[in-house]
Amino acid sequence: MGSDPLLAGHIGWVVVLIVVIKVIVAFIAMMVSVLLAIWIERKVISDMQNRIGPNRAGPFGLLQSLADGIKLFFKEDLIPERSDKFIFKLAPYLSVIPAFLTFTLVPVGGIVHIFGHTTELQVADPPIGILLLLAMSSISVYGVMLAGWSSGSKYPLIGSVRASAQMISYEAAMGLSIASVVLLTGSLSTRDMVTQQLGTFFGFIPHWNIIRLGVIPFLVFIIAITAEVNRPPFDLVEAEQELVGGFHTEYSSIRFALFYLAEYMNTITMSAIMVTMFFGGPDGPDPSFLHWLWPIVWFIVKTAVFFFIYVWFRAALPRLRYDQLMDLGWKVLIPVMLVWLLVVAAMRVSRPLGFAMVGLGIVGGLLLYRAIAVGRDRSTARELARPARAELEPPRERREDHGDS
């Protein structure tokens, strides 16, 4: 079970001080990395599109996101008259606080000794571990949903309804993929996940979960969290051509900034969680000097690689259509991940049971394939029957006035 040795014993004021320092350092690191991430995203995308990108504020435009953030403080804060004022003001909190809390789970480095205490280089290591991630991602759905609903405007409403349907759909796939990692670890703690992945196969292949689990859970996870944090190509929430700005259309000034902040924080945290779960977290080659530093370096490098992949997705992939999005989530990711999880569970017990499960999975897949075909036929038949039914029934009176008269 996960537990930080720092908090296991008596909690004196030194311990509290260390905890506060850890939290504040993590907070500042989070803010700085968001500012950098926005800059990197804009720079990389502009490079990929043959543009220059931000280059005025600071060297190479590095301070551009800071300048934008400060500018937003000086912008008028509008609350639409038809909105539900309390919920409208509450929604940014529900979006940004879970983003902060999720990051506390990530193991950033190894174990260090400080002021005569031993502590793990991660903000918190509760026994429920990764369940906190699931809880927080569910709460951030509320942030998005309530933001759109309380705006009292049509585009945010549609955007938020879409967003919440999309987020809960992919949450199921994400949960199954995390369950496979939990299965292998035998614990929910993120620290245990990382320590389990230390070591190598045959001396050179790293003992990481991506290899131990097969690549499928990782692929499902990266797709699911891309949809979960509403990044392109799954950013139907803010499909500009259809929905203006999506759920935060009515938000301005600092409220908008908080949503933006939460989005980038979630992206970075999810990259970090992915590194933790499938790529050994802070695991990596360790030269024999500066022992405490190398894990942190490896962690940051791996996380940065995944953040870059997100940006690359955004530059390279076109946005999905909504039905394609839902089909991918429900009819591909969830069944595949469910079968894979059962196969992994069975293979750990015995080989024959494992192969029996593979057979069961194939039968299930064929059944589902047939079910999808039947479902498509039925809804097509319903659609075709509609004009015929309309001819049989007398037409309803069409209202001649238009709206307000």
């Binding site: 000086f74 804060d77 405007s153 349907a165 949960g175 039905d323 097509t380 307000d404």
Partner: protein, 146 residues
């Protein structure tokens, strides 16, 4: 419970940061209210109708189907955390459970509960034919002040 102390501190810090930003914004931001600013955004058109509170029932369906899967996942987590001790019994048990949920899922899919988009092979709905484009354009140009 001491393990949750950092999370509580982070919660407080995050809430302080968010509310502090609002206070700062309230101090720095200008306040020049105007009726057009507080109207709902409709791409520059003056809103004339009440907000449509209705959206397709499919979204509710997705929410309900999600609950089925969420419950399955909730049951999977204790199994996953204790799979080592449970052995063959646990695997058979969880496979049976997954099978039951899977059959329900296959039934839903076969009923078209999760079919969204454009139906294949269907023609465009016949309700669109009656709109007179000239009339519609005239209506939009007048802006409804008739």
């Amino acid at each position: 419970m001491a393990q949750y102390l950092p999370i509580v501190i982070m919660l407080v810090l995050g809430a302080l940061f968010a509310s502090g930003s609002f206070v700062a914004s309230g101090l720095f931001a200008p306040r020049r209210p105007h009726r057009a600013k507080s109207a709902p955004y409709e791409c520059g058109i003056v809103p004339r109708t009440e907000l449509a509170e209705r959206f397709p029932v499919r979204f509710y369906l997705v929410a309900m189907i999600f609950i089925i899967f969420d419950i399955e996942i909730i049951f999977l987590y204790p199994f996953a955390a204790a799979a080592g001790e449970l052995g063959t019994f646990g695997v058979v048990e969880i496979a049976t459970f997954a099978l039951v949920v899977f059959i329900a899922f296959a039934y839903l899919v076969a009923n078209g509960a999760l079919s969204w988009g454009p139906k294949r092979g269907s023609s465009a709905p016949s309700g669109m034919g009656h709109i007179d484009l000239k009339e519609l354009t005239a209506l939009m140009v007048r802006g409804g002040h008739d």
